[in-house]
Amino acid sequence: MVVVECIISFFLILGAFFALTGSIGLYRMTNFFTRLHGPTKATTLGVGSMALASAVYFSFQGNGISLHEVLITLFLFITAPVSAHFLAKAALHLRMHKNTEALPPR
C-alpha cells in the first residue's frame, strides 16, 4: 500500500504545483491576455492530476474501481476553453490589446 500512497502523493503534489504556477502566472504577467494563460492551464494538468490522485485513492478503498473523476476532467476540457474564449473575446471587444497588427481589418 506504500506504493499506492506514493503514487497518490505524487499526483497530488504535481497537481498542486501546476495550480500554483497557474496562480503565479496570473500574478506575474503584465497584461490581460498573458494573464489569461495561467488559469486556463492550471485546470488542464493541475486538476487532471488531482482527479487522477482521487481516482487512485478511491479505487484502493475496497469499493471497486472509482472512475467518475474522469468526468471532472472531461467537463473541464469542454468548459475551460469556452470560458477562456469568452474572456478573450470580451477583452478584444473592449479594446484591451495594444498591438492590433495581427488582427484582420474589420
Binding site: F18, T21, M29, K41, A84, A91, L92
Partner: protein
Amino acid sequence: MHNHKKPFLSAQRWLPHPLMTLMLIIIWLLLVNAISFGHIILGILFGVAIPWFTNRFWPERPKIAKPVQLVRFFFGTFLRDIIVANLNVVRLTLQSDISQLQPEFIAVPLDIADQMVISILASVISLTPGTVSAEITLDRRVLIVHGLDIPDQKAAVRTIKTRYEAPLKEIFSC
C-alpha cells in the same frame, strides 16, 4: 418536428446521434460510479431520450471518418502536448525576467468549414498551454489566437495548422 418525416421504424428517427447515445450511457455509468443492470437500463433511457429532445439543436453532425486516428490524435498528440506545453509554460512563468516574453496575436487561416470541427480545433488550441483562441472572424475563415511566447509567428501558425488542423480535418473528413 422534422422527425415525423422519417419512417416510423428507422434508426435515423429514434437514434439521431448514435455516438452521443453511447457517450451519454458511459457518462451516466461514470456519474453513478457503478455498473448494475438498473443503471445500464437508466443510462440507455437517457441516451435515447436526450439526443431525441435536443435533436433540433444539432441540425447536422460531423462524421467521424477515422475513429482510430481520433484515438491516436487524442492520446498521441493532444494529451502529450498538454503535458509538454504545460511544462513549457511553467518554465516561462517562473523564469526570472518575464519581460523577455513575446506575447502575440496570430491569425490562423482555416481550411475547415464545419462549425463543430472549428470549435473542437479552438478548444484544442486553448487547452494546449501557451495559446488561447480569442476570436474568429465573421466569415469563419480566420481564427485569432493569442500566444504567450511567439518568437516566430509564421512557425506558430504552421505548427497549429499541421499539428492540429490537418489531423482534425482528416479525422472528420471535412
